[in-house]
Symmetry: C2
Subunit: 332 residues, 2 copies
C-alpha cells in the first residue's frame, strides 16, 4: 500500500507514546524512522519499527530523553546515552556537534552506551541541512568475519560522511560489509543472486548466492581486506573516543546494545566565503559526473543524489510499504 | 641484491643533496623513502625514487624546507606546501598535528599545494609512534572512474588511520582502488591474474586480467560504488579543509602536483589512563584475531602487523631490491 509521510510519522509517534515515550521523544524518533522510510531505506525504517518497539518492551531501549554530558577533551565532547533510543540519541549528538562547530569550526561528539541508530545517513543529512560537513560512525555487535576468518569477530560498522551543497547535499552512507543482511534476505525471497559476490559459502568460496551466505554468516567485507581493517579501526576509534564498549564487549551482552558512536562536524561556511565554497563543491561534482557512463541511460550519480530523488517522489506519491509490515505495526 | 637500510638511506640522502636539497631536507626525505622500502612498500619507496629525482629536475618538486602556516580555524591549521617534496611536507604536517594534539587532544592540519606523499602509511606510523591516533588522506590526479563511469574523473585517494599500541601499532593504509597500478604491472610481468576482479575490460565486464585493466584504465573502486563515493568525499574534504586544489583542478595541470591533504591527530593518552587504554586496545585486537581462520596456517592479522614483521626481517637480512632499479638510482 501507499501511505503518506504524515500518516507514517503520526502512526510511529502514537505507538511510541503508547510505549511510554514522552511526546517530544516519541515525535523525534517517529520523525527519524519516517524520514528514513520516505528516503526508501525501509530496512532501517518501517521494516525495523516493530523490532524497535519490542526492544523498548524488553527494556533494551530505555525512554531516555537525551544523552548526558560526561566530559570535554579539547574539541571532543563525551556523552553517555543511558541506553536511550538510538535515533534520538544520535540526533542529539549531531545537533550538539553542529552547535559546537558553529563556535569552533570543528567539533567531535563521542557517545557511549547508546542503541542502534537505524539509518546512519540520517545524521549525515542532518549535518548537511545545517550547512555542515560531517563524518560519523558507530560500532555494532560482532556480525562480520575479519579478512581470512570464518567466524564473526568484527562489525559491519557503518561510516557516514556528508558535504552540504545547495544544489543537492552529498551524503555517503556505507557499511563495511559489501551487502547488508537486509539486501540478502530480499534477494533470497525473490530467488535472485546478488549483483556481485557478497560473501563466502561454508567451504570458503566467494559466492553471490544469498542463501549460502546467510547460512555461513560469512558476509564479505567492503573491499575484502580493506573493509576488514577499516571496521577494526572504526571500532577502536568509537570505543576509545567515547570510552565506551567495543564490538568485543557488545558481543558479550544478551542483545545488541551499549554501542559507541562518533559524530565529527565542521562548519563549512567558515572554511571559505560562501560563493567560493558553492562554486568549488559544484565544480567537483560536475567533474565527477562528467565521466562517460557505461550505460547511456545510467548517468553517474554522487552519493545522496538518488536518495533525494526517491524522497521527492515518495513525498508526492506516498510511501510504498509492504501491507503485512504495516498491519503488524498497526496491531502493535 | 640485498642492501642494508643504512646504505639505502645514505644513497638517497647523497642523491638528494646532489639535486640541491639542504642536508636536513635531503635527510628527512631519504629517511621516509628508505623506511617505506624497509617495510616492503617498494612501489612507493625505492622503485619511485628515480621519478622523484626527475620531478625535482623538472621543477615539479621544489626544494622547500617546510610548509608555510596560512591560518587557523579552531582546531584546523592550514598550511601551504609551496610545491615542496611530498614526504617531508606531510611529515611536517603530521608533526605539527601531533604537537597540537598534545595541547588540545585533537588537531587537524590541512595542507594545500603539496606533492605526492609516496606511502601514506608513513604518516600513520609516525603518529602511532608518537602515541597518537591519526586519520589522514590525500587527493590525487584523476586516475579512477566513478562507479558506472568509463573515464577517470576521481582519484584512488588513499585513506590512512592508525592507533598506537605498545604491542604493535595498528596502521591501516588503503587506497580507494581495489588494486594499485603497481600491483597490476607486477602481476602482468609475472603473467599472473589478480586474486580478485580488479577492474573492467574495454567492454565494461569485470576482469582479473591486469593487461585488460591497464589498457582500459578502468580500475575497480574499493567496494564498487562505496569506494567511488568515498573517493569523492575525501577529495571534497581535502580541498575544502585546505582551501586547495581538487582532483578536477589537478587534472588540468601538466603533472600531478598541487595536492591537498588532511592530517587529523588525537593524543590517545589523554583519552583514558594509560593502563586502561592499552588493556582496551589489546582486548579489541585479541578478539579480532580470535576468528577461526579459513586456512589453519594463515592466522588473522590486524593492519600493520605484517608490515612490522617485514620491517624486522629486512632490518636484519637487508632489503631486497631489484638490481636494475638500484643501478639506475646509483647512476642518477
Amino acid at each position: 500500500m501507499k501511505i503518506s509521510f504524515e500518516e507514517v510519522k503520526a502512526t510511529f509517534d502514537a505507538k511510541l507514546q503508547q510505549e511510554g515515550f514522552s511526546p517530544s521523544l516519541a515525535g523525534l524518533n517517529a520523525e527519524i524512522f519516517a524520514k528514513s522510510t520516505l528516503d526508501g531505506y525501509h530496512s532501517h525504517g518501517v521494516n525495523r519499527f516493530a523490532e524497535f518497539v519490542r526492544n523498548i518492551r524488553k527494556g533494551v531501549i530505555k525512554p531516555v530523553e537525551k544523552p548526558v554530558f560526561s566530559g570535554r577533551l579539547g574539541p571532543i565532547f563525551r556523552f553517555d546515552g543511558g541506553s536511550g533510543p538510538g535515533p534520538s540519541n544520535a540526533h542529539f549528538c549531531m545537533s550538539y556537534a553542529i552547535e559546537e562547530a558553529r563556535k569552533e569550526v570543528l567539533a567531535c561528539v563521542a557517545l557511549q552506551n547508546t542503541n542502534h541508530w537505524m539509518r546512519g545517513g540520517s545524521y549525515g543529512w542532518q549535518a548537511a541541512e545545517a550547512g555542515c560537513i560531517s563524518i560519523c560512525f558507530t560500532n555494532t555487535m560482532p556480525n562480520m568475519p575479519p579478512w581470512g576468518g570464518t567466524t564473526v569477530t568484527t562489525g559491519n560498522n557503518p561510516l557516514i560522511a556528508s558535504v552540504p551543497n545547495p544544489n543537492g547535499h552529498i551524503v555517503l552512507d556505507m557499511s563495511l560489509s559489501q551487502f547488508s543482511y537486509g539486501k540478502m534476505y530480499e534477494h533470497r525471497l525473490e530467488g535472485k543472486r546478488l549483483p556481485f559476490a557478497g560473501g563466502f559459502d561454508q567451504d570458503g568460496k566467494l559466492t553471490d548466492d544469498p542463501s549460502e551466505i546467510i547460512e555461513s554468516r560469512r558476509i564479505l567485507q567492503t573491499g575484502y581486506w580493506k573493509g576488514s581493517g577499516l571496521s577494526l579501526i572504526l571500532d577502536l576509534l568509537a570505543s576509545l573516543l567515547s570510552s565506551g564498549k567495543s564490538t568485543s564487549d557488545i558481543g558479550k551482552l544478551e542483545a545488541e546494545t551499549g554501542l559507541s558512536q562518533v559524530f565529527i562536524c565542521i562548519d563549512a561556511n567558515q572554511l571559505s566565503p560562501r560563493d567560493e565554497l558553492i562554486l568549488k563543491i559544484n565544480g567537483i561534482i560536475e567533474h565527477f559526473k562528467s565521466s562517460i557512463p557505461q550505460q547511456e541511460d545510467r548517468p553517474i550519480r554522487y552519493p545522496g543524489e538518488a536518495t533525494a530523488e526517491r524522497r521527492e517522489r515518495q513525498r508526492t506519491e506516498g510511501i510504498l510499504i509492504d501491507d503485512q509490515i504495516w498491519n503488524q505495526i498497526i496491531s502493535l
